[in-house]
Amino acid sequence: MTCVVEARGLRYRYPGHHEALCGVDLRIEHGERVALLGPNGAGKTTLMMHLNGLVIGEGELEVTGLRVAKDTLRDLRMRVGVVFQDPDDQLFMPTVREDVAFGPLNMGLDRAEVAERIERALAKVRMTHVVDRAPYQLSMGERRRVAIATVLAMDPPLLVLDEPSANLDPRARRELLEVLETIDRTMLVTTHDLPLAAELCERTVILAAGRIVADGPCDEVLADTELLMAHDLELPAGFALRAIERRSRPRAAPAGAPA
């Protein structure tokens, strides 16, 4: 078993709505960083929610070696770290410390181990100094980084980020990118921020109307202007794809290795 995500013919229809996913085949290997692009309503979030069983559709889906079904949900959620788009949804505890502790405590770890994980996860996102603050006292960029720490503390082999750079100013976005670049995990990033996808990920998947319409190296997919235009995607004017250098590309450690 070498791949982290293996979906075959994944379908899902929201009750009373159109089909959100119509047969998705996707394979993500260990250590890959994959950008999931697509216009609004393409099914990106639905696909993302399948990965930890928040939504269970038809077809086959294996994530980190587990078949996604009701009886595997508990284990599955320990292995897939989902960072939601709005950090205010993710950070629901009164203090940052308790929020970062929430996942590890649910995993049943002892308190010493939990304390260590809080420290390590916050250090990873450079947010150790806010450990006793309340989430509402943080800026959007800080909240986003703490939200990432809340899942890093669970040490999941797969990290799923939903629009990580939404609503960030350029500086907060750059800091976030720097943090993400140092995280040694298999990553699936849904985003509209094509430069972020280009800088962070080696591979790009485009989802449109519930189907995968492109899947390939980031540099190639993002250079295909016609393909992008056809799916309401656009690089910023004057953006030079070739000038992008991915600063660090750590290879992923085996699943379960410390963050």
């Binding site: 929610m49 930890n52 928040l54 508990r74 959620r77 320990m78 897939v80 770290g81 989902v82 939601f84 709005d86 205010d88 949804d89 993710q90 950070l91 629901f92 505890m93 009164p94 203090t95 410390r97 308790e98 502790a101 929430f102 996942g103 405590l105 649910n106 995993m107 308190r111 939990v114 309340a134 989430p135 509402y136 006292q137 809340t150 899942v151 669970m154």
Partner: protein
């Protein structure tokens, strides 16, 4: 709107010396102790006034140990207290009985006046003990204390979420109101309240869907029905001494009255 937020932030924060012995007490001890003061005050009739004195003395001693400045306390009690006192002040005018005092067009009655005094004393003591709890204990600790005292978990959870999302919702309301106002909405009578109603509806729907998203975020991190505790509370000797001390001061004057009557 930021004004309101800052104001609220100030009120949820601690005051006094954060390292004082009062601040360091276990939240359960503080809740029990200060609640005891409030219950004694609320249940005491006016003629047992020494019990009120004992309560006030306890609160003053507590505030002194915590080094809470009177101004910080006033900032917190001024929200509730004036309303209670103004309402209480109307009682002597409507409740008849006992001697009467002529106040021009109005007449105050002895019985009403006694009720007013009792209500004011109870309100003052109750409000000040709540304010003292708030100045010496962070809200998350109060919640942990309540949970430790076997308050139903669901209620504690609701209070925790309310605390966490109050600011988010206040900000959202502020943005919506700014959007209304900047398009010239300036209601002058009840008939123009329509947009306000729709704003409330939108707010409800947004909060509802936010609730769903939060629940999903909780599930995603392994939530299975119970909130995990990070730091277990520890009830030490100092905490027991505090509770015992408070009870020893406020209970005897109250109970003496019971046996004497």
């Amino acid at each position: 709107m930021s004004g309101l937020c800052n104001h609220s932030l100030e009120l949820t924060g601690l005051a006094g010396d954060p390292d004082s012995r009062a601040h360091r007490l276990d939240p359960r001890a503080k809740i029990v102790g200060l609640l005891a003061v409030t219950i004694v005050a609320v249940s005491t009739p006016l003629d047992l006034w020494p019990a009120y004195v004992a309560c006030v003395a306890t609160l003053v001693a507590y505030a002194t140990v915590a080094r809470v400045r009177p101004r910080d306390l006033w900032l917190r009690v001024r929200i509730v207290l004036p309303v209670v006192l103004v309402l209480g002040a109307l009682v002597p005018l409507v409740r008849s009985g006992g001697s009467e005092y002529d106040l021009g067009p109005l007449t105050a009655h002895q019985a009403g006046l006694e009720i007013f005094l009792a209500v004011s004393a109870k309100a003052l003591i109750g409000t000040f003990s709540a304010a003292l709890l708030a100045t010496t204990t962070t809200f998350p600790s109060v919640l942990r204390g309540l949970e430790g005292l076997r308050t139903p978990r669901l209620l504690v959870l609701i209070a925790a979420f309310m605390y966490r999302y109050l600011f988010v919702i206040v900000e959202e309301v502020g943005r919506m109101r700014a959007a209304l106002v900047s398009r010239g909405y300036n209601p002058r009578n009840a008939l123009q309240a329509g947009p306000m109603g729709r704003m409330v509806t939108a707010m409800f729907l947004r909060t509802y869907s936010r609730g769903e998203r939060i629940y999903q975020a909780m599930l995603a991190r392994g939530y299975s029905g119970t909130m995990p505790q990070l730091v277990p509370l520890s009830f030490r000797r100092a905490d027991a001494a505090f509770v015992a001390g408070v009870l020893l001061v406020v209970l005897p004057p109250r109970l003496l009255g019971v046996t004497g009557s």
